[in-house]
């Protein structure tokens, strides 16, 4: 630990008193923050760790901010302690930050400053236009010349990164439900799936990682509120003397037990529900969501151009929306999606990332209002990029709280935020050679301590 270079030391109260600051003059001596130290994480140079001690057990936090402001804070500790260490998240690379230790019911340290480290080499230089992609943070993989997971702030700047060198791709990254770790799938959906695929859990504070081997992982996974993971896994079965590539959902319980809760073979028959490219894969599931209230999965199947609801308890498929095996069809005049990827169901509204349904050969986002009683979906909204883009794989739309839509064009290396009227508000573009995986949006990066 050094106060030189990229590290810094804040002034503990005794020092502050010496230099004439009065903040600590009336504080109980055992509540003063002592030996305040701050350093840049050696692996993730956008993380700053702050540590201090107190003579008596106390609760504390760290106020921090850029340009001298102290407008953000780490979480207040939940248990009193004398040895304190906090990690400051959401910081940009190569930027000066002010920080101040705040002791509950006690005193504050003097304000220290620290400069974060430079971005590691190999990360793409993204171009950003407009302001405010998301009020919180954007968690998403980068695939291509570099394979990594990034967290972007509201302006599209990198505030967290982890490079993965296991020669697999990453398609989904998400913060764990407790906010302490980040989960991602290391897998391969190009050609044959990988036996070496796994779900990786990495501590957000850079302190370590573990992984759960799950052979043949496909594009997507979810985490339940209790920490159970649900993942799409490729499943081969014999069909007419040929090994046919279907899919299943595998759950990993918090104790590590893996259980298959659904297979495509439960709901569909390859001789009836043929799909459009059995040679390369029958269902080719590529997107997964989970509704804890309904206790239901929603799974998208590329080669069916359909999305189905799956009851977790029974594996039944109460409805299928789309083309193959559909029980919910398109209302007259509604555009149909083809080879879609991610989607979002909110109430009876569904956003769908339509990769190939447009006759213009461009990808787009379609929104439907589904009448479940009438088994019919009416198109209510659509958005296509200007200039147009084609996303051959992945892609995800997310409706934001204010009605705007966040569109991840994945393989086209573009992120958009658009208003309900279709006005472009913010855009990120990647240089050639880099694409995005699926995204998740996070309100905060400061986990409870």
């Amino acid at each position: 630990m050094s106060i030189l270079g990229r590290s810094a030391r804040g002034f503990a109260c005794p020092v502050a008193i010496v230099v004439g600051l009065s903040a600590c003059a009336d504080d109980a001596p055992d509540a003063r923050p002592l030996d305040v130290r701050a350093w840049v994480d050696p692996a993730i140079p956008m993380l700053v760790h702050v540590a201090w001690t107190t003579e008596a057990p106390t609760l504390g936090s760290v106020a921090f901010g850029a340009a001298g402001a102290l407008d953000r804070s780490s979480s207040v500790e939940s248990e009193p302690t004398t040895e304190h260490e906090h990690t400051l998240f959401g910081l940009r690379a190569n930027t000066d930050y002010a920080f101040q230790v705040v002791v509950e019911g006690g005193s504050s340290s003097d304000v220290g400053t620290i400069r974060t480290g430079p971005l590691p080499t190999g990360l793409p230089q993204m171009s950003v236009s407009g302001t405010g992609g998301h009020e919180g943070y954007i968690v998403l993989p980068v695939i291509g010349a570099t394979t990594a997971v990034l967290i972007l702030d509201a302006e599209g700047q990198i505030v967290w990164m982890h490079r993965d060198d296991r020669e697999l791709d990453i398609y989904r990254a998400r913060l764990s439900v407790d906010g302490r770790t980040l989960l991602y799938n290391a897998a391969s959906v190009s050609g044959d799936p990988s036996d070496a695929s796994e779900i990786v859990r990495i501590a957000l504070d850079g302190s370590g990682q573990t992984s759960i081997p799950i052979p043949l992982l496909a594009h997507d996974f979810v985490e339940h509120p209790d920490g159970t993971l649900g993942a799409i896994v490729v499943e081969y079965r014999d069909f007419d003397g040929q090994m046919l590539r279907g899919d299943k959902i595998v759950e990993v319980a918090p104790d590590g037990t893996q259980t298959t809760v659904w297979t495509a073979w439960d709901c569909f028959d390859p001789s009836v529900d043929v799909g459009d490219n059995q040679d390369q894969g029958w269902t080719f599931a590529n997107a997964l969501d989970y509704d804890p209230v309904e206790q239901a999965y929603y799974i998208g199947m590329r080669n069916f151009s359909s999305i189905t609801k799956v009851l977790r308890a029974t594996g039944d498929c109460p409805w299928v929306f789309g083309l193959t095996a559909r029980t919910i069809g398109f209302a007259a005049g509604a555009d149909r999606f083809l080879h879609q990827h991610q989607f979002e169901l909110q109430g009876n509204r569904m956003l769908v990332f339509d990769n190939e349904g447009s006759i213009e050969g461009e990808s787009r986002v379609l929104e439907y209002e589904i009448d479940f009683a009438a088994s019919e979906a009416r198109q209510v909204w659509s958005y296509a990029s200007t200039p147009s883009v084609y996303t051959f794989v992945l892609g995800e739309p997310t409706r934001l709280a204010n009605g705007d839509v966040f569109v991840n064009w994945s393989a086209a290396g573009q992120l958009d935020r658009v208003s309900p009227s279709g006005d472009l508000l913010w855009r990120v573009n990647m240089p050639i050679g880099y694409v995005f995986g699926f995204h998740t949006l996070a309100e905060t990066l400061q986990p409870a301590i």
Binding site: P118, P120, A145, G191, D192, V389, Y390, M430
Partner: protein, 319 residues
């Protein structure tokens, strides 16, 4: 510019020599990639036996040196706009409408277009390679398999309903690139003959093309020595910096803004860099191996200062 040989901060660490925009070379590049019309919706035979030079006019063996053949389909751009973006290194992923590739086995120089795949997934080339008003097709040979780097040569192919051409030969790349650079008008960097040689590029703002520096792209540093050459002579052969060097040292970088040149090692024998010697020209370059444009981000003449740093004005006039 401080005294690089004697400067030190309060801890005794050497004061880095700060590299500046005024020390960076300037260059302009433009591409003129030929176009061949072919039949539409057919499985072309693509050959690269004639690709005996890359676009920097370096000799290459079509059989052994080509690792990857790619077909890029681009949308919303003219061929001229594509050439401009390639020259500037500003081609976006969203410009790509389709990407098929074939990893060569170094045993042949021809393959059918249908052997190219979408990351391992076969496609129906008769549907994907068709005449289009708003799409352009480009064949690309590369060293390595990355889409963003390693380009050796390119050829636009244009499927038309009238053409009966079903075999194309990607030509040698020499002549496609017009590259002019000014290395001698910039300030040189004075460095002492003896260590320390800590250099800091954190204050740079523009690359040699005048675009904002991509610091995260800088992944290695080169020190080059050219015995018997003048700076002007080196400038005339600027595309051959790595080929004509009498000696070259390299240092991999991991994201810092500064480096100690004594950690660089000889690119051939791995021996460490031991100092600047008289009798030729020295250069210092910051490189980006993953950038679209392979030109150095920063390139300057090093002026060995005999143990004491001095400011050298353009054209070698000491101040």
């Amino acid at each position: 510019m401080g005294d690089a040989s004697e400067g030190a901060d309060s801890d005794g660490a050497p004061t880095p020599v700060e590299l500046t925009d005024e020390q960076n070379y300037h260059f302009a590049a433009s591409l003129d990639i030929p176009t061949v019309e072919t039949a539409s919706g057919v499985d072309l035979t693509v050959c690269w036996d004639q690709a005996v030079t890359d676009f920097r006019c370096h000799a290459m063996d079509p059989m052994l040196d080509v690792d990857n053949l790619a077909l890029l389909r681009l949308r919303n751009l003219s061929e001229l706009e594509i050439e401009e973006r390639l020259s500037l290194g500003t081609l976006l992923m969203s410009d790509i409408d389709g990407y098929l590739s074939y990893t060569t086995d170094h045993s042949t120089t021809c393959t059918p277009l249908s052997s190219l795949s979408l990351f391992g997934t076969a496609v129906d080339i008769t549907e994907e390679y068709v005449a289009s008003a708003d799409r352009r097709y480009m064949l690309r040979l590369s060293e390595g398999t990355q889409l963003n780097a390693g380009t050796q040569t390119m050829l636009f192919v244009q499927p038309t309903e009238d053409s009966t051409v079903t075999e194309v030969h990607i030509p040698a790349g020499c002549g496609f690139l017009d590259f002019t650079a000014d290395l001698v008008s910039s300030l040189s960097v004075p460095l002492p003959d003896e260590p320390p040689w800590e250099v800091d590029w954190g204050g740079l703002t523009r690359d040699g093309q005048g675009t904002p520096i991509n610091f995260a792209g800088i992944d290695h540093l080169l020190i080059g020595f050219y015995a018997g050459l003048t700076a002007e002579a080196l400038q005339a052969q600027i595309l051959d910096l790595e080929q004509i060097a009498t000696a070259m040292w390299s240092l991999d970088l991991t994201g810092a803004f500064s480096a100690d040149l004594s950690r660089a090692t000889h690119v051939v024998d791995g021996t460490p860099f031991t100092g600047f010697a008289p009798g030729g020209v020295w250069i210092l370059a910051l490189m980006c191996s993953q950038c679209q444009n392979p030109a150095p981000i920063f390139l300057t003449i090093v002026e060995p200062s005999g143990g004491r740093a001095v400011i050298v004005e353009p054209n070698g006039v000491d101040s």
